[in-house]
Amino acid sequence: MLERRVVPRAGALALIVAAAVSADAAEQRFPKPDFKSGYVQPVYHPPTPARSAVREWADVAVLAAALGAAAWLALRARSRRGLWALSVASLVWFGLVRKGCICPVGSIHNVALALVDPVYGLPLVTALIFALPLVAALLWGRVFCAAVCPLGVIQDLVVWRPVRLPTALNRALGMLGPTVLAFGIALTAAGAGFWICRYDPFVGLYRRSGPAGMIATGIGLLLIGVVVARPYCRFFCPYGVLLSWGSRLSRRHLGITPDECIQCRLCERSCPFDAIRGPEPPHVDRSAARRALVRALWAAPLFVAGAAWAGRAALDALAPVVHPAVALERELRAEDAAGTPDLTWETRVFRLSGEPRESAAAAAAAARHRLRLAGLWAGAFVGFVGAGRIVASVRRSDRREWVPDRGECLSCGRCFAHCPREYVRLGRLDGPMGNP
């Protein structure tokens, strides 16, 4: 029936880019044949998803169980080896088997999007994946980081010769996390996508596939992680910022030893994350400290205002890069000016849609406005956190012994595994410095 049809040449095909074909059988170009040979039409069965509702809820249950196990190992069993074994199990399960998504780190985006976009609702499983580690942090500290997070455990396993970073560098890098958090949320809220997920360094390794840059970043971070312990967790992870706040308020937190500290400082040396804080004597010069505090408080509004302005300017400038609507409008305008329509698929699809040109401009303007606003808030947040940290650094506690910093401690358990008092207390007297 088709022999008489003229074979269309390649040129003709290329011109017709997207003929809208109705799915309605009544309008089909070629009617369904009437088979005489008794041929039975097969039915295509799409392959079943790797995930199902049951599995999704099982994942949530596994996450809860892992958090509970990590808390038990860190707070009650006090077993570094147990935590290590749980880390390996988490690496295998959450990483290699479940292959990364969705993880609590990325769920920040889903929550942020659900809060600003009434069309997007957060499935309950995602909400739980976001909330469970935070609740665990409020109860027991950062046990999620200790042995559950797939991004964390892969780095924890390669810690080999950790070095201590200079205080200034450590604190400056420590500001990156809040920045990533603030701008990650800002970009999502402005409709520019999930930027934290896009720069997840290790998910490509778990999937054994991904953009070359992503895989290279992951391997590079792991190599750095041999000497600078868990660089992503300490300096980039936005979820870690939330967890550190939760951990500061935690009901219980891992301790080095319940016995009296003998101030041997082995725990301080054993901590690869520089999270053990020593005794803090009161200020030598109280009036100088007061002046520093006053200065810091005066400067705080300036920091907030300056950072807010910078954040607004940055997202405004980046708008064509980060937001598809702004990029589309720019390309449309360039094409209009040059009389060269449809250089990209995006502009071609827009023109095919028959939408008036103004609606693209309006969408771009709205996106730009939202980006500016989101940038302003994100910048202000970063400035606020910075100012807060400056004020906090003036303060002195009356601490007399060595304790983990609740915010920065990842509850990995290396400190109590090195504590001589623990060896005495537990009767393991064959040597205090058993490397875990």
Binding site: S22, F35, A50, C101
Partner: protein, 209 residues
């Protein structure tokens, strides 16, 4: 045995501890509230999966190149119910093909992933060899432009790792990749709606929300 590291007692310490408990309770309420408010409009209590809306797809070829997986989780699938069983299939044959034979230079598919089987004159059955298909969409374009459109690109859920943000969706020029509730993962082409007017528009959060 559970330690909290607050061995030194004192009224100030007690007050601090009390404040911390209060703040922790407040923070817990905030987390629960955030999750609850975020989940209020949820389409599905279970998760969502990514799916291609064939009515929007323009076969730009990015599904093959932009998936985080190699080979891509997007492949061509065949809705037999829509097929015309054409002898000259526009998805199977290259438009420049001089003869209607299975020779390499006549086939549209660069990997030969479409199998053609004679049924009765003049009808042929076409089926997709999933392992060979790269998801380039060349056959889909041919079938949609000149045929019934029974070939479509779709995300195969046994391969898809369900990234939180689908890397193809991000680069899809027609916003054809959408999140659907897990329960609706197996919709075929005829079950999707027609092309909405604003296919180009990236979904924006409502400005006055």
């Amino acid at each position: 045995m559970m330690t909290t590291n607050s061995s030194s007692a004192g009224s100030s310490n007690g007050r601090r501890e009390f404040l911390r408990r209060g703040a922790a309770a407040a923070a817990g309420a905030v987390v629960a509230g955030l999750a609850g408010v975020a989940a209020r409009g949820a389409v599905s209590r279970d998760g969502m999966v990514w799916q291609i809306n064939p009515a929007r797809c323009v076969q730009c070829g990015r599904c093959m190149t932009h998936c985080v997986l190699t080979p891509s989780a997007v492949k061509c699938v065949h809705t037999y119910a829509m097929c015309g069983y054409c002898r000259f299939c526009f998805g199977y044959f290259d438009p420049g093909a001089p003869e209607l034979t299975t020779a390499a230079e006549n086939q549209m598919c660069p990997t030969g992933a479409i199998r053609r089987r004679f049924i009765e004159p003049p009808y042929y059955e076409y089926s997709i060899l999933e392992d060979l298909c790269t998801g380039c969409g060349k056959c889909v374009k041919g079938c949609n432009t000149f045929g019934n459109g029974s070939l479509q690109l779709q995300i195969l859920h046994d391969r898809c790792v369900q990234c939180n943000e689908c890397a193809i969706a991000r680069r899809c020029p027609a916003q054809a990749i959408e999140r659907v509730p897990l329960a609706k993962w197996n919709r075929m082409k005829s079950e999707f709606g027609a092309v909405p007017a604003a296919v180009w528009q990236h979904r924006e959060p409502d400005a006055n929300a």
